[in-house]
Symmetry: C2
DNA sequence: TATACATATGTTCAACTGTTCATATGTATA
DNA sequence: TATACATATGAACAGTTGAACATATGTATA
């Protein structure tokens, strides 16, 4: 009952052992090189923001122009509330910036990264 | 009761009207230039795949190496099932490719776009 | 300061998503 | 072909999320 019943096959050969040792080393190296969980979490959060078709449409509409909430709402046939909610998310994740002019607030893409990320994604999709 | 009560303010000036006409033109131009909804939907779907920390970790672990399911599971302390489920999603969206070698299946990033998108995101996050 | 316009916020709810567990499929070898 | 290993799949459940609605805040002007 207490005997070793883990394998009915023969013991690993020396070559097999070398291979599996190398594999374990590789895994440990990757573990060490992997960025902190927190950074990868933030990275996922960033992409999550791009990962909604309403937000992508909003971002795309601002690709070359600054727009205010009502512009976007009428442009994309969305409710004002919905646009405002989504813009808040885009502001929070620093994907858009804004400036006030009288009663209106003009939104635009925050930096070139945003454009670059969208463009990269476009290339991948348009294959 | 039937009278026009929409505005108690004065009628728009000529300058105001010009501005609002120009604005409407701008909106129509953007509408025309906007890619098809279907493409923007696909784009959002693509980013949605990047938008999960488990999948990002998996992708990152394959940044420079091909790995098999169990490698990833032990590397990231995830269940085999979870890794397999996520790899299926990554396969479906063409972010990873794979090759079989005996009992194992080695996964790796599908192309340079994937690396580029992750790198862009990293730059944005690491500010 | 009352009114209209522009934007923001809070809440509720249905739909979606990732994980887990159990199980199935595929592959190599004794 | 029986066994072990590697991966895949299916179902159920908890947590998350976007949309809609009502309402609040901020701003300009009469």
């Amino acid at each position: 009952m207490a005997e070793d019943n883990r394998r009915t096959e023969s013991a690993p050969t020396a070559a097999e052992k070398d291979f599996s040792d190398a594999r374990e080393n590789l895994i440990r190296n990757i573990q060490d090189q992997q960025p902190d969980d927190e950074i990868l979490y933030d990275l996922a959060e960033l992409f999550k923001v791009f990962g909604d078709s309403t937000r992508i449409k909003i971002l795309y509409s601002m690709f070359e122009n600054e727009l205010c909430v009502n512009d976007i709402a009428s442009l994309l046939h969305l409710s004002q509330s919905s646009v405002s909610h989504q813009l808040r998310i885009l502001k929070t994740s620093k994907l858009v910036k804004f400036r006030r002019e009288g009663k209106s607030i003009f939104y635009s893409l925050d930096d070139e990264h945003v454009r670059a990320i969208i463009s990269m994604g476009m290339e991948h999709v348009e294959e």
